[in-house]
């Protein structure tokens, strides 16, 4: 089922990404920030993909830890890697925009801090899986679960500080040209996320079945 869907999804993602620059170019200029505002069309969708991935990783880890589903572990591993990749895109595009809009590369703002901490938790997750040796999947699942539980606390603890990041209320106020470009890019990033996720989970399952075959051969 997922294999049959894979090719159409790849095609759709490619088409959406090919058209996205045109829509972004056609979208009207923002009156104060000008050209640099256009980073937003890639910045917000990449963080959206990152948060979806983080959520997938947390839920899949819980399934693996409490129900013992091996598939949960494969999905969690794939989701953690993608969370780091999409988070990196967000962390690179953000400061580029902030330098122009706020005059600084980085602000210790609630959203920025929370995003950075979450990103670091996923890096530690990957480090544990990579260097923890056998049996580290279970420990990693614990990290993912604690990482998810941590998000509201980090957000709460930095929210008392002055916030400068635009809130989600910005989205409905966008003029139609900007809104279309944003939703289009968001669709593109989520399609890209879905396809890479499918490929990555498949790779994990293939690896697992190869291991199984080797073990059967040894027995």
């Amino acid at each position: 089922m997922t294999q049959r869907l894979f090719l159409p999804l790849v095609v759709a993602a490619t088409v959406v990404f090919a058209v996205a620059p045109l829509l972004i170019a056609w979208a009207p200029y923002e009156s104060t920030m000008g050209l640099v505002q256009k980073i937003f069309y890639f910045h917000m969708p990449s963080w959206a993909a990152m948060f979806v991935s983080a959520l997938v990783c947390g839920v899949a880890s819980a399934f693996f830890l409490f129900k013992g589903h091996a598939t949960g572990d494969r999905i969690a591993a794939a989701a953690a890697e993608l969370a780091v990749v999409f988070g990196l895109i967000g962390l690179v595009t953000g400061p580029l925009w902030a330098r122009k809009a706020w005059g600084v590369w980085w602000q210790w703002d609630a959203r920025l801090t929370m995003a950075l901490v979450l990103w670091m938790i996923f890096i530690s997750y990957l480090l544990l899986r990579e260097y923890g040796g056998p049996g580290s999947e279970k420990l990693a699942a614990g990290v993912a679960l604690f990482g998810m539980a941590n998000v509201p606390f980090v957000y709460w603890s930095v929210n008392v500080w002055r916030t400068v990041h635009p809130t989600t209320n910005v989205v409905p106020t966008l003029v139609p040209g900007m809104r279309i470009a944003l939703w289009w890019s968001l669709a593109g990033f989520l399609l890209l996320y879905t396809t890479t996720m499918m490929a990555r989970v498949r790779l994990e399952s293939q690896r697992a079945s190869l291991d199984r075959l080797y073990r059967d051969l040894d027995d």
Binding site: L65, S124, G135, L139, G142, L145
Partner: protein, 227 residues
């Protein structure tokens, strides 16, 4: 419930007895915390005067560093003598083992703090003892939060490779809320005019963090420790 508490207290007593005989962890952790504070003193004291508002941060960083060291060493000792394996084989509730280990760590860290807090107050001219009750509550809640997450991860890592470096790598991002709340709460109390309401808000947040993470740890200890 009574049995649960008895097991937890027995495990704590075992840890404290071992520690009382060797004093290895207490002395090394304590000396480490003091050296860390001194290193910060050289970094943050200029022209004989401490940099303003540095005390709160230094105190909490010293606690976090010393805590990581103590957690790593406690479980290294268990691993070396294969004690944790034996404990997990015992017909007792697994979460009781976790609570016992956590209590042992808390006693150790509490002792370290008794020395480190006055030292920071002394070296950085910080009025840390002006609001003793609030400072003690902040330290207690913060230490419980840090140790609750730390005990679970140190116990988990006992089976992992490169656990020495993985413990801080996992622990610091996860305990950032504790560090933020601890530093901000302490800083609020150290201002010329202590901000009691702010400190109370941070204590409340730490209490909430403790409840959530202890519950989560009790809940996950069993599945992560089962091979």
């Amino acid at each position: 419930m009574k049995r649960f508490l008895r097991v937890a207290l027995l495990i704590m007593r075992k840890d404290l007895t071992v520690e009382a005989r060797s004093r290895e962890l207490l002395l090394t952790t304590l000396f480490f915390a003091v050296s860390a504070v001194l290193v910060f003193a050289f970094g943050f004291v200029r022209d004989g005067r401490p940099v303003e508002n540095a005390a709160a941060g230094i105190l909490w960083i010293a606690i976090a560093f010393a805590g990581t060291l103590a957690l790593g060493r406690t479980f290294e000792r268990e691993r070396y003598h294969d004690v944790l394996h034996a404990l997990l084989l015992a017909p007792v509730d697994r979460p009781a083992i976790y609570v016992g280990k956590l209590l042992g760590i808390l006693v150790l860290l509490g002792t370290v703090e008794i020395v480190v807090v006055p030292l920071v107050a002394l070296l950085f001219q910080a009025p840390l003892l002006r609001q003793p009750l609030l400072i003690v509550t902040l330290l207690a809640f913060g230490t419980v939060g840090f140790a609750a997450v730390g005990t679970l991860f140190a116990a988990m890592l006992i089976r992992a490779r490169s656990r020495d470096v993985l413990l801080p790598v996992l622990l610091y991002p996860l305990t950032i809320p504790v560090i933020i709340a601890g530093v901000r709460g302490t800083a609020a109390l150290l201002q010329p005019e202590a901000d009691i309401a702010m400190a109370r808000a941070w204590i409340g947040m730490l209490g909430f963090f403790d409840v959530v993470f202890i519950t989560l740890s009790l809940w996950t200890f069993e599945p992560v420790m089962t091979e």
